[in-house]
Subunit: 226 residues, 2 copies
DNA sequence: GATCGGACTCGACAGGGTGTTGACCGGGGT
DNA sequence: ACCCCGGTCAACACCCTGTCGAGTCCGATC
């Protein structure tokens, strides 16, 4: 992680206030208002005035807490990615136990996290095109996940469970990209999309065949018989 | 195709003019200006005034030719998708000849088309979040491609070349989605991306393993020995 | 050759959103 | 008693969008 962190918390301080004071609840009120409004309309249709009024303050006062509308969304996105990281946990370190089950667990947990905050995720996808900061943050997060998957694939190859084929990094990028786009379509509901109940299994199937050439990868290392 | 078409041309008339007249070159001037400006900055940073001045007209006059800035982009997108459709041709009907080569041809041609108009494609991806019309058109185009791939997969399964597994439609959606997102990252260059020279082969590999469970699918039907 | 109508053009305005400025208020430390 | 400072907002300057009404040009019509 390269972003600066506040001394008090673990999330980057996208607001302006340095120390703590009574204005803390105003900040969370803005955040809460944003999440509520996001449930009923698109991010672009929410004005700073809406956010301010929803939090019981005037528009100029909004700027005391956040430098822009986008910064609010960025804070929301931080929470979601952190939750996803936590949900993923260390499943990738325990792949050899039962590869299929572990990969499924990984995908299912990401699915649950994103699905639980679909409004925020959808809004981020929308503004990623126009906002460089969101783009940067998402790129950073994705890079971390790509690296983790890449390392896991290399581990599986090392233990002989997966064949050497594509560069692990390229494969990791392709699979992560697929998940992102497929989830987006499923949550957004516009255009061709996989049904929500099936999406985890569909993604899992493509991951397993791309990594192992089979949907039933071997559980224990083939060359270790202690 | 469900969109209305002008009597004169083959593309939907996103401009306003009904008959032809001297204003034709103004319309293409706007389109050309849009493509040129898109090469140097983001769509959101281009104002209608920029487009108008670039075409040598005033801002109100712009509205005589297009109802909005987005309509210009929509016209540009039409061209690209039509070119992609033409480039794809009938490769999917000739899969049995040499599956690997045909699939590669399909992906490579799409890659070439999108890569040749990357500014337009990138801009469309950007506004898809905020513009319902772009979203609708893209969904329509994607649906067509998904159906074509789905049919091809079912054909390959019928001739015994590919195993029955995931519903063909879900698989087609996942693979098309992956391509879209991976190309976007490669062309945009932000965040983890596959290098442009490798991207076709990376995508191909995932497609083949997901569809056939192997990267060397059989060329001729297994049960036909005349 | 006058006139008419439609294609075409733009100056000017209204509306709505953003970001900033300067002043004001209230309370805790000195 | 004072003053700094967190917190607050009315008012302003700015930019962009979309529209309206008035004007020009030109081929078709009488």
């Amino acid at each position: 992680m390269t972003t600066a962190r506040t001394p008090t918390g673990t999330t980057p301080n996208r607001g302006r206030r340095a120390g703590r004071s009574t204005g803390d609840d105003r900040e969370v009120a803005i955040l809460a208002t944003a999440e509520r409004l996001l449930r009923e309309r698109a991010f672009g249709d929410i004005s700073i005035d809406d956010l301010a009024r929803g939090a019981g303050i005037s528009r100029p006062t909004f700027y005391f807490y956040f430098p822009s509308k986008d910064a609010v969304l960025l804070t929301l996105l931080d929470r979601v990615t952190e939750e996803a990281d936590a949900a993923a946990g260390d499943v990738l370190d325990r792949l050899a136990e039962d590869p299929r089950a572990r990969w499924r667990e990984l995908i299912a947990r990401f699915h649950a996290t994103f699905g639980g905050h679909r409004d925020v995720v959808l809004a981020c996808a929308q503004v990623r095109g126009t906002n460089a900061e969101v783009r940067r943050l998402w790129a950073e997060v994705l890079e971390r996940w790509v690296r983790a998957v890449q390392a896991a694939i290399e581990m599986e190859r090392a233990r002989g469970a997966a064949p050497d084929a594509l560069p692990a990094r390229d494969l990791a990028i392709a699979l992560n990209s697929m998940n992102e786009r497929v989830w987006y379509a499923t949550f957004a509901g516009d255009g061709p999309a996989v049904a929500e109940r099936d999406v985890v299994d569909v993604l899992l199937d493509v991951w397993l065949t791309a990594i192992y050439r089979t949907t039933t990868p071997p559980v224990t290392p083939s060359d270790r018989t202690p």
